[in-house]
Symmetry: C2
Subunit: 270 residues, 2 copies
DNA sequence: GAGTGGTCTAGACCACTGT
DNA sequence: CAGTGGTCTAGACCACTCC
């Protein structure tokens, strides 16, 4: 009945223990023994050692770079996202005086980083609505949509903090030509203020949260190991007229992100 | 610059396309060609084919069972959890008439399944608070805690829908001895009503959402492939006195769960 | 016991990173 | 170019499932 462990699992567990214990040579940034060396030491064949290293990589403990080596990963800072608070704050900001919008970026609230510590990258395109978008917005398939792709990073580090695809109905967004211009990003005051310039007020935001393994492209951009998990956030903004006016699809690195929601409850009558 | 794809990736993609297209032999429940056969057909060595199949398993498309075969997975029903609505509803139920509580289980609301389609399993134990629990509840390390482990399933199917670990301060829970008795579960009216019997009203619930790869044990219990992602939900209940009175740690199968939260926004002044 | 996936080896050769 | 991970092979043997 003993659950026998494969050799590669045993080796992976052994190394994981060393890392957890902080043994010299197994501290963050240190380079692990090379695969060839362990083979020479008789720890197993190359395939076996590689399986152990791959397991550690999938668990986020080490990072393997071809031609470079295998290193113990430094724990990246945890990102806590309080969307509820953020949405409320963002709307208030958009409705307030212009000087507040200049000094308080929406991105900073998102990431908890300073104003000059975040770079915003944006590329816009116009695409026809596919079946999914047409259902979300309640428009015909083929309706032109403004597709805005964003990603944020810290200066000097190409690692993205999140990958965002945002969609608006093109005809609606075009009522203010500035909204079609990616060079206006980051827009002070965020999406709430953008939409307010074309007479739209957001009444409610619905978040849907799912998870799956990162694709290779996502893993590269977010700086996480392939095979690790991402959080998928679908954010639907509904106007005071009851129309879906914006939909965003956000990909977040699972291992270093926590989403928080707070649900206040009505008190029972005394 | 051509991003060359390994042979195993190419094979996996080819099979994934067949599955997506619904080709005969690649429909849900169908058995995939055996590894030995593909080797005989010259599609690659056993290691290569196995890597392709493993990739498909990690992506949730197929399930491999040793000694049995590799089959195309049936898409399990997607579970949508609206916690916000649920928390509000659950509190209202607990404050209302007893007959409502008998007829409306909290679990059913959770899973969207019928009353007689859900089995509830509960085991209770008393443990000393570790550092994490002591911080969450604001009690000393070593304080006795009531640890309640739950899992739900559909009759005849050992697959769990979720794995729940719930914690209460033992001294507090003991004010109603029924709360220490696992045979009283499932408790009509849920945790809100349980706590109301000892004079506690829940004022606010905070959800924290993270993700990571499933452990082997979780994968087995939830019926998901090892290496796939789970959603971790930490649920903190705060009483009207401002104390943390319950903390639950919920593990959900990532690939078939979606969490939804809705954030209503205050209207701008006219 | 037949069938089928899982682990392991020993070694060839490829592809990327850095000097 | 040297160093280091990634892919692939051919085949032996193990472990689990189902009959």
């Amino acid at each position: 009945m003993a659950p026998k462990t494969p050799q590669w699992r045993g080796l992976a567990d052994e190394i994981a223990r060393e890392i957890a214990a902080g043994t010299a040579g197994y501290r963050p940034g240190d380079q692990l023994p090379q695969i060839r060396d362990l083979v020479a030491q008789g720890k197993g064949s190359k395939t076996t050692i590689l399986a152990a290293y791959k397991a550690l990589e999938a668990e986020g403990l080490v990072s393997m770079i071809r031609g470079h080596g295998t290193k113990v990963r430094k724990r990246p800072p945890h990102q806590i996202r309080r969307h509820q608070q953020r949405y409320v704050w963002e709307k208030k900001l958009a409705g307030g005086p212009a000087e507040d919008r200049q000094n308080n970026g929406v991105v900073e609230m998102d990431t908890g980083l300073d104003h000059d510590q975040v770079e915003c990258h944006a590329t816009f395109s116009v695409i026809p609505a596919d079946a999914e978008l047409s259902e979300r917005f309640g428009v015909d398939v083929g309706t032109l949509m403004l597709h805005r792709h964003y990603w944020h990073s810290t200066p000097g580090d190409p690692t993205a903090l999140s990958l965002i695809d945002s969609y608006l109905i093109h005809e609606v967004a075009a009522r203010n030509p500035d909204l079609l211009d990616s060079s206006k990003e980051p827009w002070p005051g965020g999406t709430h203020h953008q939409l307010s310039t074309i007479g739209i007020e957001i009444d409610r935001i619905d978040d849907g949260i799912r998870t799956r393994l990162a694709t290779q492209a996502e893993a590269r951009k977010l700086g996480i190991p392939v095979g690790s998990a991402v959080i998928l956030l679908g954010k639907t903004s509904v106007s005071t007229d009851g129309d879906v006016v914006e939909y965003s699809h956000v990909v977040l690195p699972g291992e270093r992100t926590e989403l928080r929601y707070s649900v206040p409850l009505e008190r029972w009558p005394q």
